[in-house]
Every structure is written in C-alpha cells, then in structure tokens.
Symmetry: C2
C-alpha cells in the first residue's frame, strides 16, 4: 500500500507492527464539498490524504474560517481534540474529490502499547505537524498579508484548485482584501 511505504520513509517499523497497523487502515472517498468530520465532534480518527485536498475549518462570528489545508500524504487531524479527548469546534471537509486513509485513533493508541515502534512512527509524524504549526505561527505573527500570500503561492501546488475565500481566511484576511492583493501583484 502506498501509505505504508510513506510511513516507511518516515520510520521503519517491524514486519509484525506493520501487519498490525495495516489492519487498522481503511480507505474512504469523499466528493467535493463533502463533510468528513462534523464541527463540534471529537477527533477519533487519524486521516492521511491519499489524493485530493481537504481542509480543517470552523465558524467564527458567522464566518467560515479555514485553519489548515492537507494534500497528498499529509496528515489531517484536529490535534487539539485528538490529544485531549475534548470536542472541537472544528470540522474537516473535502475541497476536491478526495480519498483518505483513515485510522481509528482508539485502536491506534492501543497499538502503541504493544508496539513501541508504532508509537514512535506516529510521534514522528505528529512532530512534523507540530513544526508546521510553528512555521505558520511565524508567518501570521509578523508578515504582511501580501507576503503570506506570496509564500503560499510559492510553496503550495494545487493552490489554484482551492477557492479563494478559503485561501483568504487561511491567511487571516477577508476575501475582499485578498482580491485587492492579487490585483496589486499583477
């Protein structure tokens, strides 16, 4: 399975662990716009995008805000819920027709006890997410919206497949501001 070789590239686990882990992995397909996890739910599934694009979003003052985009091989979890067990005001939605690998979190965490190396693999995977959060923090803390947009253009393929309203809220600005920035650039 493609996912297992991706995992291998992060940290190689024993064949036995690999066997146990692969039995937890299922595939799910979602069509464009479809909700993968409802707002307000608990995060009890670790998703990894196989193909397509998904986003984490929430509502604030009636606005729809995108917190995160995920592309191929990206994890997509609502960590503030997965790690605490608390419900989260955030949901997950497919932006394109999207296939994800899904791993039940309770079963996964149970496997951690039996296989030290599975816990390590996922520790390393989540550490990458952690670093991503920090990078994003840096850009939101002290870059102008225009610079954040230019960085996003530079670093993110598939960007043209994402509705601009989602990009705007991801950047922390209104859609109108993003339009203005785009017109300044050209």
């Amino acid at each position: 399975m493609e996912l297992l070789s991706f995992f291998d590239s992060v940290y190689k686990i024993t064949p036995r662990a690999r066997e146990s882990l692969s039995s937890l992995i299922t595939e799910k397909e979602y069509s464009k716009i479809e909700i993968i996890q409802q707002i307000g739910s608990r995060c009890r599934t670790v998703y990894i995008v196989k193909r397509g694009i998904a986003r984490i979003f929430y509502h604030k003052d009636g606005l729809d805000i995108t917190e995160h985009f995920a592309f191929s091989n990206d994890l997509i979890v609502r960590a503030e819920s997965l790690f605490t067990g608390e419900p989260t005001p955030k949901g997950i939605q497919a932006i394109e027709n999207t296939t994800v690998y899904a791993i039940d979190a309770v079963s996964l965490f149970a496997l951690y006890d039996q296989h030290h190396d599975i816990e390590r693999l996922f520790r390393l995977l989540f550490e990458r997410e952690h670093v991503n959060s920090i990078k994003r923090l840096e850009s939101l803390q002290f870059q102008s919206a225009k610079d954040r947009y230019l960085d996003l253009l530079k670093n993110t393929d598939y960007i043209q497949k994402i509705p601009l309203k989602h990009i705007a809220s991801y950047l922390g600005i209104t859609q109108v501001s993003l339009s203005r920035i785009r017109s300044e650039i050209r």
Copy 2:
C-alpha cells in the same frame, strides 16, 4: 524533585525509567536578560522552567520578536530545530532571574530506545506544546490585537513582569499599538 512529580502528573513511568531519566536532569540558573540559547544554534536541550520566566525570540528586519513565553513547569524548546536537527534563527532568553531544568536531548532520545514509557511521557509533554501552538494560531489568525491582548491578560499570570515590548511582538503588533490599546481599555 519537583520536576519528577510534575512528570508523574502527566504520565507515570516505571521506577527504573524514572531513575534513568532523573540522572539526565540538571538545574541551571540564569539572571534576568541572560541568554540561555543563542540565536542560530541547534536545539539540543529540553528545558523546563522551574521558576522565573523565559522567552523564545528571533530577529526580523532588525526587530526583536518574542514567539513564546514559558513559566513554571512549561517546557521551552525550539521544536523546529529539536525535531529536525537543523539550526534555528531563534534564541532563548531569561526574562526574570530564572531556574530551569535542563535535559540533554541526545541522551534523552537515546533513553527513548530503552524505555518506551519515557518516550511516551515526552510524547505527551510535546503534544501539549503542539496544542498550545494551535490555540495560538487561532488567536493570531482571526482575532483583533485588542482581543488577543485581553485574552493574554485573562489567561496569563505574571504578565506584569514581562516588558511590554515583548508582549507587543508576541501579539504581532508594535509597541506603540499596544500602548494605544492599553489606553483604550482604561
């Protein structure tokens, strides 16, 4: 040791593991303003604040920007370096006279191999940091500077011990803007 009971409250490890871990823990004192880790270095130490206040900071366009504050029992690491091995443009500085527990990261990671439960303990500790990063992201993405300041006031004791210029950059605004916000509040 106080630190070990704090660790116990997060995840209880075996006495043997506890023994091994405690042999790695040293204490260091830093006086106000003193640099704990230089900008540009690699993060090879996990610090936990015993008492006092420390910050993670970096320079951007000649400005000093505070990315993070740490108080008693808070971890303070430059995760983007600790988890990747790369140098980081960030440094660590004591804001008050500060005592930290220091754990050498290389030795710690070596212990992970021998003690599954030590790896788990630190996984859980770093997960908390990860969740903190996400919370901070939310506030920077779509709250006004005034709301961010009010939240900080509400949630953070000792805030009055931190120079306003550090608070301003932490909030992603200039010191002048923070002064303006403070005068509006009263």
